[in-house]
């Protein structure tokens, strides 16, 4: 499966989790793709932590406004009804539990719902940006990531990298599976039509609780 195909599938599946009226923050990278798969007329309100709600699609070429970018610095638009604010209010929205769902990428996730996505000591230390606040503050945290990295599992018994937040992840969506984080552990809810439960288990280091597993809608 190509990387783009995998990412598109993940984004499509996560779009089903978002409902009209929700305030949603999409992280940089793969999570931003989720917006492409919201149904037309969707009333999901997207928050951009650099300072507004009502994040709209990319502008047409030539119509970029240098004052309107997403948190990754890319040109975007603000939909009618959008609102601008400063960083303190932006993070009051995030930390204060006013964001219903955040979708974030991950380097590692573990059985306790711990998330590591901000640094690899000695190699990559970009900083956490808004990720720690989003993970702690959003009411529901969905991790969007490929199931493995270079063939190695990313869903682990225990994260090895420095954490972004402790016990905050609620749902993990990969190109192979949908996994819910519960107090009992990770529950395998869905597997993709082109894989099997056994294959998902083989590519996951963490223990998966398996009861009723549905086929993932892709």
């Amino acid at each position: 499966m190509s990387k783009d195909f995998a990412r598109e599938r993940i984004a499509r599946r996560i779009a089903h989790e978002l409902q009209d009226g929700m305030v949603v923050n999409l992280g940089i990278g793969l999570p931003t793709w989720v917006a492409n798969y919201l149904p037309s007329g969707s009333e999901v309100l997207l928050q951009s932590e650099n300072g507004f709600v009502g994040l709209g699609p990319a502008p047409l070429p030539g119509q970029e406004d240098p004052d309107v970018t997403n948190a990754g610095g890319q040109p975007v638009t603000i939909v009618p009804g959008g609102a601008c604010f400063d960083s303190a209010m932006s993070f009051a929205i995030i930390r204060g539990g006013h964001v219903d769902v955040t979708v974030l990428g991950a380097l590692e996730v573990d059985e306790e719902g711990n998330l590591a996505n901000w640094m690899v000591p000695g190699k990559m230390v970009p900083g956490m940006g808004g990720a720690m606040d989003l993970t702690v503050g959003a009411r529901r945290v969905i991790v969007a990531m490929e199931h493995t990295a270079k063939g190695k599992p990313k869903i682990l018994k225990k994260c090895t990298l420095p954490l972004t937040a402790r016990q905050q992840v609620d749902l993990i969506v990969t190109e192979l599976a949908v996994i819910e984080v519960t107090p009992q552990g990770l529950v395998l809810k869905e597997v993709a039509p082109d894989t099997t439960v056994a294959e998902v288990v083989a590519q996951t280091e963490a223990t998966l609780i398996i009861n009723t597993v549905k086929v993932m809608e892709v």
């Binding site: 300072g51 507004f52 948190a71 604010f85 995030i94 702690v136 420095p162 402790r166």
Partner: protein, 221 residues
């Protein structure tokens, strides 16, 4: 004519080596590039810089990093400027990475007369190292102390002659917070309008916070 209007050179004439400087902007959106240009020109060194990120090597705070003007940087993200990472790993510049919401609140607290804030962000991560943990109603919080600066270099869209400021779109970010937290606040603006032209309801930063105004793109002769 505004009594606060200065050229970049006049506005930053008293900025000394070793100053603590807050700089507004988010990946260079809402960053006062004309003021950064002047800091570069006047060769001010050993600065402690506080900003959301370190921009890009050729834009925003990134230019000060590349020119080695900072001895210490507080930012939430430095990934868009590889030079910051290089200086951090080489031990040339001290880089303190702070969660973005925490940084915003530390700056706000600095301007609001507070000693700091209690945030759940960072609990159980390396961010909590060396910080006081306080339990309120059974939940753990980190005490994050307030930040203040000698200078805040901010960017607004429009000012009136008294220094009342309005911002445009996503350029607001840290600017209004920094405007409250520094001894000298220099606002770089696109336009200065006569007093009375801004509706009091639309003003985001009251002019009482603003020491000097500088027109964006203004060059000293």
């Amino acid at each position: 004519m505004s009594k606060k209007l200065r050229t970049p050179r006049e506005a930053l004439a008293k900025m000394d080596n070793g100053a603590t400087v807050m700089i507004g902007g988010f990946l260079c959106v809402g960053t006062p590039e004309t003021l950064i240009e002047e800091v570069l020109r006047k060769d001010t060194k050993d600065l402690t810089l506080i900003g959301n990120d370190t921009g890009f090597p050729d834009r925003g705070i990134g230019r000060l990093i590349v020119a080695k003007r900072a001895k210490k940087v507080l930012a939430s993200h430095v990934g868009t400027n590889p030079e910051t990472g290089r200086q951090m790993h080489a031990g040339e510049t001290e880089v303190v990475l702070v969660p973005q919401g925490t940084l915003a609140e530390q700056v706000r607290a600095g301007g609001a007369g507070l000693g700091g804030v209690l945030t759940p962000t960072g609990v159980g991560t390396i961010v909590e190292e060396g910080k006081q943990k306080i339990t309120v109603n059974g939940r753990e919080f980190l005490l994050e102390v307030a930040l203040q600066a000698d200078y805040a270099l901010i960017k607004a869209h429009k000012a009136d002659e008294l220094g009342n400021l309005v911002y445009r779109r996503a350029t607001r970010n840290f600017n209004p917070l920094m405007a409250m937290a520094a001894k000298t606040v220099v606002a770089e603006v696109e336009e200065i309008v006569p007093v009375g032209e801004l509706d009091p309801d639309e003003i985001i930063t009251p002019g009482l916070f603003v020491t000097y105004l500088v027109k964006r793109g203004k060059k000293d002769e």
